[in-house]
């Protein structure tokens, strides 16, 4: 297993799934499916992002998305579709909506953005948990005993590291990305 993020591309047109794999293959571990059922078979906890066509015979993209969420997968899902967005998408739990036709650079941008959000989400959750642990210890223990504790020191280090990583992520994104990020985080 590589350490590369795992991206699952789903499109009933085999060439489209194939091209997505080609465009992203250098930087991501790619899986491809040409139907909803096959997509669900390829889903597991290691998948970071799903690129999902909406209009497919058999299980539609919308149905696949619902099943992914029902199964509790917390991966990012981008609908990649030629279907004009209508109000019905409000209730669909996806993370991004990409209109076809999409070319290599637009697809790579969308994928990078979503995976950045995923990393940010992940660090933010860890930072929150760490901060809560620090707060719990501080309310129970005396300052002296905290000072003596190696565990407490390690915890503070970890919190600082996470904070640094988050700051770095924010700084590495340009204005547009930050805006989109917060729109996504709002959902």
């Amino acid at each position: 297993m590589s350490d590369l993020p795992v991206v699952l591309a789903v499109d009933d047109e085999p060439r489209v799934a194939e091209a997505f794999a080609l465009w992203l293959g250098d930087d991501y571990e790619m899986r491809t499916a040409t139907g909803g059922e096959e997509a669900l078979e390829l889903m597991d906890e290691s998948v970071d992002l799903v690129l999902l066509d909406r209009h497919m015979p058999g299980l539609s993209g919308d149905e696949v998305l619902e099943r992914i969420r029902e199964a509790g997968h917390d991966c990012k899902v981008a609908m990649v579709t030629a279907v004009d967005p209508d109000f019905d998408i409000v209730d669909l739990p996806f993370d991004d909506y990409v209109s076809k036709p999409v070319d290599r650079s637009a697809l790579r941008d969308a994928v990078e953005r979503l995976l950045a959000v995923r990393r940010y989400d992940d660090r933010m959750a860890q930072l929150y948990a760490t901060t809560r642990t620090v707060a719990a210890l501080e309310s129970e223990k005396s300052p002296a005993s905290l000072e003596d504790s190696d565990e407490y020191a390690a915890l503070l280090d970890r919190r600082a590291t996470l904070q640094g990583e988050l700051d770095e992520m924010m700084a590495s994104m340009d204005g547009e990305e930050v805006r989109e990020l917060f729109e996504l985080l709002d959902t």
């Binding site: 047109e13 060439r15 194939e18 091209a19 465009w23 015979p57 030629a82 004009d84 070319d103």
Partner: protein
């Protein structure tokens, strides 16, 4: 030049005109016979005068209106506010409405509403304040506006579907090209099919745009001959057409052929290899049916079948049966889909 000869100045024509005016024949005739309905009321909204055109617009003889309240030609919901507005105007001179050309519905003697464009005038007659309304029936204009609105909505819906249906194969073409560039040259062969599909879509959309219009001249068309002609383009090598006493219908021949071609193409594409397509007269009503011995509609929703862009087949454009429905509608016919007794699909076109 004219000033040098005073005898050519207005006096002659003025004299003629004043003769007419004095007799008031011209104006009476204009008011009586003009196409606008004119109704005059007093301060209590009692009708003092109605011209002949009120009969055409409201369905009442002028004599039946004189002496009645104006509210007789108002829809119930406006009656109260009418009296309030008149009272307020008489008291304060304040107008509730624009008096020059406003749009309000009136109520016809038979109860239906008529959209009117109304101009109000106030004048005095015998020392009384008299109010007149000059009312034009704008039903046709309103109907045209509504039709335009419907067409715009349809166009919008249409544009959405077309853009979707072209963007999908465009994505496939782009992807296929990328795969070919990466070394799989065989992928290039597939591009032709993708482009064919886009071309077919554009042809269908153009046909639909043309067929959606009202039909022109209709003439008696022998359905059997029309079917043979349509089959020559829509049929394929393995399928066969069978005619069962096809009737003669009154139709625009070119549109009828397009309708049949699309029904046949649908039957051939969905009926499978060696399908037999039958065209014949309806037993109980004027019209005809096209049925096949293929797989039938199956899980397809017959309601959605005629929608723009609806297809169960990846290669189809989803416009064929929309064309059928539009041509039928343009002739004033109705078309419905169901399963045939032989297990295939059956389309019925009722021509009356």
């Amino acid at each position: 030049m004219a000033s040098s000869d005073p005898s050519e100045e207005a006096p002659v024509s003025t004299a003629e005109l004043s003769g007419l005016v004095q007799g008031a024949e011209l104006f009476r005739s204009l008011v009586e016979n003009g196409s606008d309905a004119i109704v005059s009321i007093d301060e209590s909204s009692t009708i003092l005068y109605a011209n002949r055109s009120v009969e055409r617009v409201f369905g009442y003889e002028p004599e039946a209106m004189i002496g009645e309240r104006l509210t007789m030609i108002m829809p119930e919901r406006f009656r109260g506010s009418h009296f309030d507005a008149v009272d307020r105007y008489l008291e304060t001179g304040e107008r509730q409405l624009d008096w020059s050309s406003i749009q309000l519905p009136a109520e016809h003697a038979d109860g239906h509403e008529i959209p009117l464009s109304i101009t109000f005038e106030e004048h005095s007659y015998d020392g009384e304040r008299v109010f007149s309304g000059i009312m034009r029936d704008v039903s046709e204009r309103v109907a045209r506006e509504e039709e335009l609105q419907r067409q715009n909505e349809r166009l919008e819906e249409f544009a959405g579907i077309v853009s979707h249906d072209l963007r999908e194969p465009l994505q496939t073409a782009q992807a296929t090209l990328a795969v070919a560039r990466a070394g799989d040259e065989d992928a290039l062969e597939e591009l032709e099919a993708v482009f064919d599909r886009m071309e077919e879509l554009i042809d269908d959309v153009l046909t639909l745009a043309k067929q959606g219009r009202a039909v022109g001249e209709t003439e008696p068309v022998a359905l059997g001959d029309a079917a043979e002609a349509a089959w020559s383009t829509a049929g394929d090598g393995t399928a066969s057409l069978s005619l069962e006493a096809p009737p003669t219908v009154s139709a625009d021949p070119e549109r009828l052929r397009a309708l049949l071609e699309n029904l046949f193409r649908n039957a051939v594409e969905h009926g499978g290899h060696g399908v037999t397509v039958t065209l014949g007269a309806l037993a109980d009503r004027p019209g005809f049916f096209v049925s096949d011995d293929g797989a039938g509609l199956g899980a397809v929703d017959p309601e959605r079948l005629f929608d723009y862009g609806y297809t169960t087949d990846d290669g189809g454009t989803g416009f064929g049966l929309s064309i059928v429905a539009d041509i039928a509608r343009a002739h004033g016919w109705s078309v419905a889909a169901g399963d045939s007794e032989h297990g295939g699909a059956r389309f019925e076109v009722v021509t009356a």
